[in-house]
């Protein structure tokens, strides 16, 4: 009994200690460590099969836009940090022995050697160029399938495709001209140089802005997380109050197939009514449904949480319930004001037979380091990127201070 109590105390102490380095709250058995820190605007990240962690930066650090982190002595923290690439951006992915990384207009790739190191860091191949960048929703998040395709998000440079963006009283354009070159996912050949719009195809349309996307290898299908539109209350105070506008529209997880339309800007998803609702810019009143040809999301989350990364967990370190389920990094809201802000956590969506099974839950919480945030500037950290290590550990990138967390599980 005494031994049991002592070992329990020891375990508790250990658990407490390992989580103390971070402010994170995790389910029992999980612990988080700071793998690296001070990278600045760490957006997405990826881990090579050898364990090399590549982080894409939204702002250059010492003139470099990609950081390689290596845990040489395998103590769970990176001892070696080096940089390469002179462009800023969000997207990063590994496939077929190449590292892919994006700026807000281009996608490059670097050949990797057998140790997971970049062969020639100074001369990447330019794979895609000339993608539209009008500052709003400019991040070109990327992923790869297993058949040689590269998927690139081209976010809509607009909130709701009004004639005058975000302007009260300005009507929605019909058809929305933005959808020709943005507001969807484009598919390119992952191995061909210098492609632009003419070489790729619009794979999915009607997506306002996708920052999280992942290829589900179990289903051979692309999944994306969309940032729903902003400012229902500010633009339509007669139809929505501040509380409804904080909760709506849903942030959405979609399972998509080629040719799908997710409905932006004409409709939005309402997870409370469980319906596709006609956007007020197009004659909606918060109740009228629309978008008969648009697909339904797999999951609708509360509004404005900002799903910035999606990762299907295929590792073996975490308990069985996590296998093939989806982790989503919610960057955290701003458009819930004057209500309390929400998000700033990593959520988990359990999957069974390729479909969400059961309610989603908060997995890793308190990146912000405080409760009841009034504005996003108060957050100490904001989760933006997710990656799985070869050992099954989960890495999370924060783009406020550039902290890289490594989350592990011990039975």
């Amino acid at each position: 009994m005494i031994i049991l109590a002592a070992s329990a105390a020891l375990l508790w102490g250990f658990h407490k200690e390992t989580s103390e380095g971070t402010s994170l709250r995790l389910p029992s058995g999980f612990s988080a460590e700071v793998f690296a820190d001070g990278l600045g605007e760490a957006r997405h990240l990826v881990v090579s099969p050898q364990g090399n962690v590549f982080v894409k930066l939204g702002k250059l650090k010492d003139g470099k836009g990609i950081i390689l982190l290596q845990d040489v002595n395998r103590d769970g923290k990176a001892e070696k940090e080096s940089g390469f690439g002179t462009f800023e951006g969000t997207g990063i992915a590994i496939g077929n022995d190449y590292l892919y990384a994006s700026s807000d207009e281009q996608v490059y790739r670097y050949a990797l050697d057998g140790k997971g190191n970049v062969k020639d860091p100074d001369s990447p191949e330019l794979i895609v160029t000339g993608l539209i960048n009008r500052h709003q929703h400019a991040a070109k998040a990327i992923t790869l399938d297993t058949r040689g395709h590269l998927y690139v998000n081209i976010g809509a440079y607009s909130n709701a495709c009004q004639e005058r963006d975000r302007t009260k009283g300005s009507p929605g354009m019909k058809p929305c001209p933005i959808l020709d070159s943005a507001g969807g996912i484009w598919q390119f050949n992952a191995a061909k140089r210098n492609q632009s719009y003419g070489d790729g195809k619009r794979y999915v349309t009607g997506l306002r802005n996708v920052v999280g996307l992942d290829w589900n290898e179990e289903l051979n299908q692309l999944f994306v997380t969309q940032h729903g539109r902003d400012q229902l209350f500010q633009l339509f105070p007669d139809l929505y109050d501040a509380k409804q506008s904080a909760e709506l529209p849903s942030e959405t997880l979609y399972a998509v197939k080629e040719g799908d339309d997710c409905g932006w800007p004409y409709i939005y998803y309402d997870h409370i009514q469980k319906k596709k609702i006609l956007a007020p810019e197009y004659g909606g009143d918060g109740k009228k449904t629309g978008g008969e040809k648009a697909i339904d999301p797999a999951v609708g989350f509360p509004g404005h949480l900002a799903p910035n990364a999606l990762l299907f967990y295929t590792g073996k370190m975490f308990p069985a319930k996590y296998r093939n389920g989806a982790f989503i990094a919610f960057h955290g809201s701003w458009n819930r004001a004057p209500e309390i802000q929400k998000g700033y956590f990593v959520a988990f969506v359990p999957f069974k037979n390729g479909k969400p099974a059961g309610e989603w839950e908060v997995f890793a919480d308190n990146f912000a380091g405080k409760e009841n945030l009034k504005s996003p500037g108060e957050a100490e950290h904001r989760p933006c990127g997710l990656a799985q290590g070869p050992d099954g550990a989960l890495y999370v990138a924060d783009d406020v201070k550039g902290t890289i967390y490594k989350i592990t599980y011990t039975k």
Partner: protein
Amino acid sequence: MKFCMLITVIFFGALPFAALAQDTQDVKTAVERGKLIFEQNCLACHQADGSGVPHLAPPLIKGTFVGGDKEKVIGIVLHGLENVEIKGEYYANPMPSFDYLSDQEIADVLSFVRTSFSNEASEITSEEVTKARADTKTK
């Protein structure tokens, strides 16, 4: 004589105080009205504490434009602002035009913002907004 002096002090001495009280009351009303306009039109992006949204909407705290030239700041509210560097940062979301607000409403909201969030700039009158609006129309 003493009584006379007292009267004089009360009479003349009180005048500037009365004027000041009147002034303060006006400003307070304008700022109070401006706060409501701010909450309805500006708070979503610039936040209740004026801190803005990192990378998306600039802070108004000790704002470069906010506390600066009156004509310029009125112009920003009337016509919006997009893709402009502010203290070394670019902000992704465009600020829309708020030209549907009345001259008085724009004056009030700017008076609120220019005296809040650590800003110590002068208030703006509806006449100044009227003039700025007319000037841009003739341009």
